[in-house]
């Protein structure tokens, strides 16, 4: 290993990518450290794919600097430091799965034995089938196998488990954890939030090409700042509920009341002080999905107009 944990394996320094007046990525700065499993979250068009493309040397930043393994993305990929699977990546037809994996393994300075890769990707049973005759889920696993066909230090996966059924997905993450346990760094983009919650030890939320949040799943959930509670109430008085302190939102279905609040204690006491006796009270943190929606929605509300303004207008923090 040419890299042994001193400093980040990847660093983005104020990286931007503009297409005409569209800022696909806008001043992104972040570091990935050795051994981390990092989830990249963001709505469609947030700049995830462009960021991964730049990280892998497929696109050049308009401005800013990306460093990987003490070099630039192109040389890091050429040096066999990176294994990657992109949504937009395809396979060569007319060869068998085994032939394809063997071919790609042969490009690497540190190839992994083909049988091991086939097993890890769960495709040993289809090794002799033609690549162009596979199902969507099988194709996805073959694409994954190409990302792990060489010993690398960083694995980058774009939506790795789309088209996988639940069982395959669990198997996938079990294998992935074994890979990462060897000290590899893993960066994956996903739109399955529970996947990010379970698999990642760090989450990056990006929206409009900017980094909005960076922390553990717990920190991200806390960052949304709201708690969630629910209770049952026999005689629901909607105007009263809407007037509760610290309220973010309220939703009423028959006798079931669901509330998001920035101060769950204050909100609940106000209900009780007014003489109500709510039943089945549950108070909890927001799930990652709600936190994610809250973070991006707030950003859209604050900066929503920025997109319509002419390019060159500075976007405030």
């Amino acid at each position: 290993m040419s890299h042994n944990g001193a400093g980040p394996v990847v660093s983005f320094e104020n990286v931007s990518k503009h297409y005409g007046s569209l800022r696909a990525v806008d001043g992104l700065s972040l570091d990935l450290r050795t051994g981390e499993t990092v989830a990249l979250l963001g709505p469609n068009g947030a700049g995830k794919s462009t960021s991964l493309d730049m990280l892998l040397g497929l696109r050049k930043p308009t401005s800013g600097k990306i460093q990987m393994f003490g070099s630039d993305p192109y040389h890091a990929v050429q040096g066999g430091h990176v294994g990657a699977m992109l949504q937009s990546g395809g396979l060569m037809p007319e060869v068998t799965v085994r032939e394809l994996v063997a071919l790609v393994a042969g490009f690497h300075p540190r190839p992994v034995p083909v049988d091991i890769t086939l097993k890890r990707a769960g495709i040993d049973s289809i090794a002799d089938q033609r690549v162009d005759k596979l199902s969507g889920g099988q194709t996805q696993r073959v694409r994954f196998s190409l990302a792990i066909a060489g010993e690398c230090d960083l694995i980058v996966l774009d939506e790795p488990t789309t088209a996988m059924d639940v069982e395959t997905r669990q198997l996938f993450w079990a294998n992935m954890k074994a890979e990462v346990a060897e000290g590899k760094t893993l960066l994956f983009a996903t739109h399955y939030l529970e996947e990010a919650d379970q698999a990642a030890d760090r989450i990056l939320v990006i929206n409009r090409g900017r980094l909005l949040a960076d922390g553990t799943p717990t920190e991200i959930k806390a960052r949304a700042g709201a708690k969630q509670m629910s209770f049952r109430l026999d005689s629901v008085d909607e105007p009263f509920l809407l007037g509760l302190p610290a309220l973010v939102s309220v939703e009423i279905r028959n006798d079931l009341v669901q509330i998001q609040s920035t101060d769950s204690d204050a909100t609940l006491y106000a209900v009780i002080d007014a003489g109500y006796r709510p039943r089945e009270i549950e108070v909890g943190s927001l799930g990652l999905e709600q936190a994610f929606l809250a973070i991006t929605a707030e950003d859209d509300k604050v900066n929503g107009k920025a997109q319509a303004q002419p390019a060159g207008e500075a976007i405030g923090k």
Partner: protein
């Protein structure tokens, strides 16, 4: 440099071509069939028998078609499918894909050429000095390189939907105006004399007939080769970020 990777990609490309029935039909089957049917005509062209003229024509027809039509479609499709992108995520140098395609075309054009020349010798009974056979084979083989280079430019420039008609029209322009199917004369010949296909024919028939090699022909072929290699390089560079 990752020469080993480029060569193993080339070997895989050759393996794919051998498995492709369509490719074998158009590069070997069709020229062989046409040669069996038409070579025995009692005629002459460019000062040699029709059998000799048609042998060169069919060998070139198959070899050029394999390097051109087949590659334009594959390159365009593989660009769209993301295979070229996937390769860029491996330690293989970015130009290896194109280099492997051209090397595979050059390798697979050899049997297409040799089989038709063998037919000329043993089916049509053409006799000439061994060096002439080699010179004709090599001329056609080097001509293949022009089409392999053009295929890269066309494959990168056009989407899979439009690449097929574009390559067929281009290819038949070179085939007809180069006189691969029938000898050129009159006004058509004046026009044909600027094509590389015409000169691949003429160099070969002159080698057989008079034993001399027309220098003008070599210059025309080299000019097309340089032109298409330059074009391919420019197109690939222009598409590097969009892939």
């Amino acid at each position: 440099m990752n020469m080993r990777g480029t060569l193993s990609l080339t070997a895989t490309e050759i393996k794919r071509l051998r498995r492709n029935r369509r490719y074998l039909i158009f590069t070997i089957g069709l020229p062989v069939l046409l040669y069996l049917i038409f070579s025995k005509q009692k005629a002459s062209a460019y000062g040699v028998t029709f059998a000799a003229f048609y042998m060169v024509g069919m060998a070139a027809f198959g070899a050029f078609s394999g390097a051109f039509n087949n590659n334009t479609i594959r390159i365009s499709q593989e660009r769209k499918d993301g295979w070229i992108r996937q390769l860029r995520l491996t330690p293989l140098p970015p130009n290896s894909y194109v280099v492997a395609k051209i090397l595979a075309s050059m390798a697979t054009s050899v049997p297409a050429i040799v089989i038709v020349l063998l037919l000329g010798r043993f089916y049509a009974g053409i006799h000439m000095a061994p060096w002439k056979w080699v010179a004709i084979g090599v001329t056609i083989w080097l001509g293949t390189l022009i089409f392999a280079a053009l295929a890269v430019a066309i494959g990168y420039a056009f989407d899979p939907d439009s690449v097929q008609p574009v390559s067929i029209v281009l290819y038949f322009l070179f085939v007809i105006f180069g006189g691969l199917w029938f000898p050129l004369s009159g006004g058509l010949k004046t026009f044909g004399e600027v094509t590389p296909t015409y000169w691949v024919m003429r160099i070969s028939t002159d080698v057989f007939g008079t034993g001399s090699i027309p220098t003008a022909g070599i210059l025309v072929i080299l000019a097309w080769l340089v032109g298409f290699v330059t074009l391919a390089t420019l197109v690939v560079r222009a598409k590097a970020e969009v892939l």
